[in-house]
């Protein structure tokens, strides 16, 4: 009886320690997010004061959000730009990498490995170093200062990782499943759509999350390739919003922008996290 009692106390202590550490770590990671959200609800003047306490002392205010909303062509234009660019990047990345991954995983063709290594090796080129040629090429194509142009750039930058990811995902699906579907009378596209796609969904989710986060947060390429203020995406807008009157920084507007920008990322990640973890480990252990 007493031994039982002792072991249950020990288990309780262990659980407390385990959960205590977990909660502390979670707080550490959540603190900056919460801080940003709280500051965004301070009135503009208070937001400029030293940051302690982090919560609004003079009552909650949406003044920063109003400032942000009225900036330039209005926040919805920029949010719309960002959303359109991200959605198109996600769609194009998923489509291209799905087909490319399937091809690299399942079909035999000349120079297959050379081609694959070539695609992967483009990760080694710092993208800043090719901005100038990119700018010139886009200008030649008449795509400079267009959202289509910036989507093409983002998809290109995402492609090596996405293709690699999808090839691993397809490699992890036993070949016999595909053989069985082919014997069952499925065409190549039916096999891909009905059988393979559901099985590589974790990979697709991972590719989608990465493409979304990368294009949603990307700043440098957008700053350089988009010159018309109406075409700005949110990160570029944030840089513009930052500068308040007389060179001061409007922290309230910045934090409200940050809050606005991280909301979709959080939502998407929470929605797809189950697949995301499985996708990253796919192909690691067969």
């Amino acid at each position: 009886m007493s031994r039982n009692h002792g072991s249950s106390t020990r288990r309780l202590l262990e659980a407390a320690r385990y959960h205590g550490f977990g909660i502390a770590a979670a707080l550490l990671f959540l603190a900056p997010l919460v801080w940003s959200v709280l500051v965004s609800f301070k009135p503009s003047i208070e937001a400029r004061q030293p940051p302690l306490p982090p919560w609004p002392v003079g009552g909650f205010s949406v003044q920063s959000y109003e400032n942000l909303a009225q900036y330039g062509s209005g926040i919805w234009t920029y949010a719309g730009n960002s959303l359109a660019v991200s959605a198109a990047t996600v769609a194009a990345s998923v489509l291209v990498s799905l087909l490319a991954g399937y091809g690299f995983s399942r079909f035999q063709f000349p120079l297959k490995n050379v081609l694959f290594v070539l695609i992967i090796s483009t990760v080694m080129i710092p993208f800043q170093s090719i901005l100038t040629p990119l700018f010139l090429i886009l200008t030649k194509l008449g795509l400079q200062n267009t959202l289509t142009g910036i989507v093409l750039v983002y998809v290109t930058l995402q492609l090596p990782f996405s293709t690699f990811m999808m090839r691993n995902a397809f490699d992890a699906v036993p070949r016999e499943i595909e053989d069985a579907a082919r014997v069952d009378g499925a065409s190549v596209f039916a096999v891909l759509y009905r059988i393979m796609l559901p099985l590589v969904l974790p990979g697709v989710a991972t590719v989608a999350i990465f493409a979304f986060l990368a294009s949603w947060n990307e700043f440098l390429a957008a700053l350089i390739l988009l010159t018309d203020q109406k075409k700005y995406t949110l990160p570029v807008l944030m840089a513009a919003v930052r500068s308040g009157q007389f060179g001061t920084i409007d922290w309230g507007a910045v934090q409200s922008g940050v809050t606005l920008m991280m909301a979709p990322c959080l939502a998407l990640f929470l929605l797809l996290q189950r697949y995301y973890i499985r996708g990253l480990t796919a192909g690691a252990v067969k």
Partner: protein, 372 residues
């Protein structure tokens, strides 16, 4: 075509070759499988039996030659258009679909009406007794149940022929026996042409109408289980079929249809094999054909190395005077000590003579076919 329920499709391979790069996997192979026949491809691993099956299924390209199914040249046809169904070693069920969806997939691909699909799926589930499992996912099934589903997926489509690629190798011994009987029953009920690949000779012997013994991409022998067991064409087939293996010992042909083995002289059936007196040959004797008896000139003297007691039988592993080892199957329940001397007799009809290169040297008259 696929709707033709009980059509018994003849399958013909004509001069079929397969090369992977510079490696020849299948060498110019001819084979005709009659409609409704149950044929088993058997051979050691790497002999090309699975490759051959996949070529018939259309999952591997044919390097040269032609394949006909039900009189139609399918050599360049997609697997989906060949009207065959295949059961894989790893079951290869679609993990994201329920059992019902797994069974229905092939019919959906053939654009069968929904009510017809439901009817077929239920009928197949009835035959294989998997009715209660229809709404489960493959991950929730045991190995035996998965294999039933895999077979069910093959039978719902009413194919021209069934191809089985080592379907029982992932099951435990007991389940393997019961599934083997079930596959046999299925063949009796459906009557379709079936091709079955295995390296397990028990499966081959029990299931097959005809066995195709393969080695290194070549057919060594085609025949009924009895033919390949009792009348092997060469040393390879003799050694591969049968467990424990056929004893192969060096021997010399002597005048008067006799053969010298170690220090014994054993009579051969008359007329003897096509070998000149004095010619070195290989002699094959099945372990169950060796009997223990009294010392005499025609008996092989051997010493027991060790003996294995298996209940109904006992295997004696003996050494001949020449140092060659020989296995004896013994059924009278006597115990033997290691080192004990035994004299082994064998009927002339049970001896199989091979040339040193492994070819069978047949006698002029039919040999005894029933096991002693």
């Amino acid at each position: 075509m696929m709707g033709a329920a009980q059509e018994k499709a003849k399958i013909e391979l004509r001069d079929v070759c397969k090369t992977f790069g510079s490696v020849d996997v299948i060498h110019s192979l001819d084979l005709t499988i009659e409609g409704g026949e149950f044929v088993v491809f058997v051979g050691p691993s790497g002999c090309g039996k699975s490759t051959l099956l996949r070529m018939i299924a259309g999952l591997e390209d044919v390097s040269s030659g032609d394949i006909f199914i039900a009189g139609r040249d399918v050599t360049d046809l997609d697997p989906s258009k060949r009207g065959i169904a295949m059961v894989f070693q790893s079951y290869a069920l679609y993990p994201h679909m329920s059992v019902r969806q797994n069974l229905a997939f092939g019919l959906e691909m053939a654009k069968t009406p929904a009510d017809e699909i439901a009817r077929q799926v239920n009928a197949a589930a009835e035959i294989l007794k998997i009715g209660p499992l229809l709404d489960r996912r493959p991950g929730q099934l045991s190995g035996g149940q998965r294999q039933r589903v895999a077979i069910g997926r093959a039978i719902v489509r009413k194919p021209l022929a069934f191809l089985f690629d080592e379907p029982l190798s992932n099951l435990d011994a007991e389940l393997r026996v019961s599934m083997r009987i079930e596959i046999s029953r299925l063949h009796r009920e459906l009557g379709n042409t079936m091709i079955y690949v295995t390296h397990d000779q028990t499966e081959a012997m029990t299931l097959a109408d005809r066995i195709v013994v393969l080695r290194d991409g070549r057919i060594e022998q085609v025949g009924t289980p009895r033919q390949v067991y009792e009348d092997p064409n060469n040393l390879f087939v003799a050694g591969f079929i049968g467990s424990p293996r056929m004893n192969i010992v060096d021997a010399v042909c002597l005048a008067g249809d006799r053969i010298g083995v170690a220090d014994a002289v054993i009579p051969l059936p008359r007329p003897g094999p096509a070998a000149a007196p004095g010619e070195a040959v290989k002699l094959g004797i099945r372990p169950e054909h060796l009997r223990l008896g009294a010392p005499k000139e025609s008996a092989l003297r051997a010493h027991v190395d060790f003996s294995e007691y298996l209940g109904s039988t006992r295997y004696l592993y003996c050494n001949l005077q020449s140092g060659e080892s020989i296995t004896v199957e013994q059924r009278d329940g006597t115990d033997f000590l290691s080192g004990e001397e035994v004299w082994l007799n064998c009927d002339a009809e049970c001896l199989r003579v091979f040339s040193p290169s492994g070819e069978r040297l047949r006698t002029g008259r039919p040999e005894r076919t029933a096991t002693a």
